[in-house]
Symmetry: C2
Subunit: 191 residues, 2 copies
Amino acid sequence: MATGSSGSKRTRRRRARPRVAVLRVGHRVGRDPRLTTHLALAARALGAERMYLEPADPALTERVAALARGWGGAFVVDGVDDWRRVVRSFPGRVVHLTMYGEPLARALPRLRGSDRLLLVVGGAKVPPDLYRLAHANVAVGAQPHSEVAAVAIVLDRLLGGPDRARFPGARRRVVPQARGKKVVTLRSGSR
Amino acid sequence: MATGSSGSKRTRRRRARPRVAVLRVGHRVGRDPRLTTHLALAARALGAERMYLEPADPALTERVAALARGWGGAFVVDGVDDWRRVVRSFPGRVVHLTMYGEPLARALPRLRGSDRLLLVVGGAKVPPDLYRLAHANVAVGAQPHSEVAAVAIVLDRLLGGPDRARFPGARRRVVPQARGKKVVTLRSGSR
């Protein structure tokens, strides 16, 4: 009985994890390709479902799609012209990550209780109305650092860290090694 | 008595946190400035003491130093010519972060038990002997993503997340806000 009860609690906790998307505002096509690629790949690796990218950058979207075809999962980068429309129409909680916001440790229980979350990060210049349009402004530390680090830490704390089960359909997979590299090639479409 | 005992346990646990440095190998001066700056700032914000940078990039070192003069703390970026010497002479555990390594969740207890840790991340091309020279090769997920995200997550899990007490001597400090930005200017040298 005790086991059954603890089992069901565990199931409920796992189901309660929010579905997370990322919105990057103010990408500079041609100037930020590596940084925005790192942001997209970290979001994907740590469990986000998609990244909205303003403005659109079709070359970046295709690079990430090519990688996802090889390494599995359904993550996509969606170019958008109007980030405000994404924020306003998002069917869940919109959280702007900024060093000026309330501490993550305080906000985390509320974020964990959401069904769907949109994590918004700005580039060099953040549009001032983002602070008002977001439901919450949350700081991963009140020091200047990196939107890649901020998104990674929020996803890690919300979703429990890397999980290979998130990447069905992979054509190749790493076999973890104490030394060196081992990658196996899988049949297309296999898990 | 019970309170005293739990207090001393807490103290011991806090003292047991490792001192962490980061080594970035294969920086491309002029090509990677933003990405390596993000790496340095994330390392600083999340509690690393310094970053060794190979090859040296004096402009980047000075940019990070200028930021640290304003925002506090003792973090520095040390340019190095020979990364292998840094790895060989480091007085602690050397951990190469790579998607091909053993899972972080498995390695973490060992890392937490170290007094000093050097987290090594490569650039686009990782020298093959790094896998052998490091004491451990550890993966923050077996998917391609970002050295900024990997370092951030390892520091967050090891050191307990952002902590304003790490930045004495700041000239300015953020006052967390639900909306908007508030920064106060402090006397030079105050906490």
